[in-house]
Amino acid sequence: MHELSIVSGVVDSVTESLAAYPGAKVLEVRLLVGALASVVVDSLQFCWGIATEGTPLEGSKLVVKTVPVVMHCANCDADVELEGLQSFRCPRCDEPCCDLRQGRELEIESFEIDDEPGSKKAGEEEIGVKA
C-alpha cells in the first residue's frame, strides 16, 4: 500500500543524483529489496510508470533484486540463509535465531544512464571507437 511513496522516494533520489549528468537519459534503476522489507515487488513495478511520468526517469526500467534473509546462528557460529519467512530457525541445526544480518534492505543500488542520448544508439559506441 505504501509502494507509491517508496517509488516516489526513488525517483527523487535518482533525479537529485542526475544533476551531475546533465542531459543524460535514465535507462534502468536497480533496487535491492530485502525479503523482510514489507514491500511488494509487483506493486513497485505497477507504480513505476505512474511515478516516473513527466520526470527524467520516464521510460526507464525498474529492476528489483530481492535480498534473502540471513541470520547469525549462535549455535553454529555461522551466517545462515533462511529459505522462507515462516520460521526463524537455523536451517542447519533448527535452533531459533534472533540475530538478523540481512533481509531488511530497501536501497537504490545503482542506475544506468545514456549520457549522450541524441548521438548514437546505446551499444553502438564501442564499435564506433574501434573503427
Binding site: 500500500m1 505504501h2 511513496s5 517508496i6 522516494g9 526513488v10 533520489s13 535518482v14 543524483s17 549528468y21 535507462l27 533496487l31 523482510l36 522489507a37 514489507s38 514491500v39 519467512l85 515462516q86 520460521s87 526463524f88 530457525r89 531459533p96 535465531c97 534472533c98 538478523l100 531488511r104 530497501l106 536501497e107 537504490i108 543500488e109 545503482s110 542506475f111 544506468e112 544512464i113 545514456d114 549520457d115 549522450e116 546505446a122 551499444g123 559506441e125
Partner: protein, 224 residues
Amino acid sequence: MTRIVELRQGILKKNDELARGLRGRYGAAGVLVLNLVSSPGTGKTAFLERTLRDLKARGARVAALVGDLETDNDARRLAASGAPVRQINTHGICHLDAEMIDKHLVGWEGVELAGLDYLFIENVGNLVCPSSYDLGEGIRVALLSVTEGEDKPLKYPTLFNSADAAVITKMDIAEPCGFDRELALKNINEIRPGIRIFETSAKTGVGMEEWLAYLEEERRKKRS
C-alpha cells in the same frame, strides 16, 4: 555512452535520519517511547487507554500520539485517561512516519519530552506498512487479538519479526472465540524467537500488572 552510476542509498534515508534524530532526543529526555502496531480492530486504543490510566495511577508521566487516516475519535477516547493526547491524521497514508512525529511534537501544549516518563505512539491500523518506518521508538509492540486467528504472525512475519514485544489482547473472550493459546504463542515464537509476550485484557485488567512491570523495567534500563 551508457554508464552505471553506483548509488547504494537507502530509499527511506530521509525517514531513517529523522528517526535517528528523534531517538537521540528521546534518549536525552529520558523518555521511553513505544510504537504500537496492529491490524484495525485489535484493540490498540482500549489497551492504550488502560495502560495510560494504570500508569498515571502509579504516578508516571505519560502522553500519547495517535495516528488515524481521519477523525479524532481515538484521541478523545484516550484523553479521558487524563493524559495529554494528540491526534495525527494521515489523510489516506497507511502508516506514521518520523516526519509526522517530529511535527506533532512541536507546539504540543503542556507537553515537553523532558517532562515525560513514557510516550506512546498508536500507529495507523495496518500490519504491513508501519514496519518499514522507524519512528525512533525504543520499543516496537506488535498487538494481536484473540479474534484474529493464531496464524497472524505467520501471515505478517515482517512486522512480528521487527517487534520488541508482543501483546495478545481481548483475553477475556479467548474461550468463546476458541482461541488456541499454545498455537498463538508458538507462532509468535517461530517468527521472533524469545520475544516477550503479554496476554492481556483491557476490560478485566488481566495481564496488565506484568505489562506495567515490563514498562517500568525497560524505562529503568534506558535511564541507567
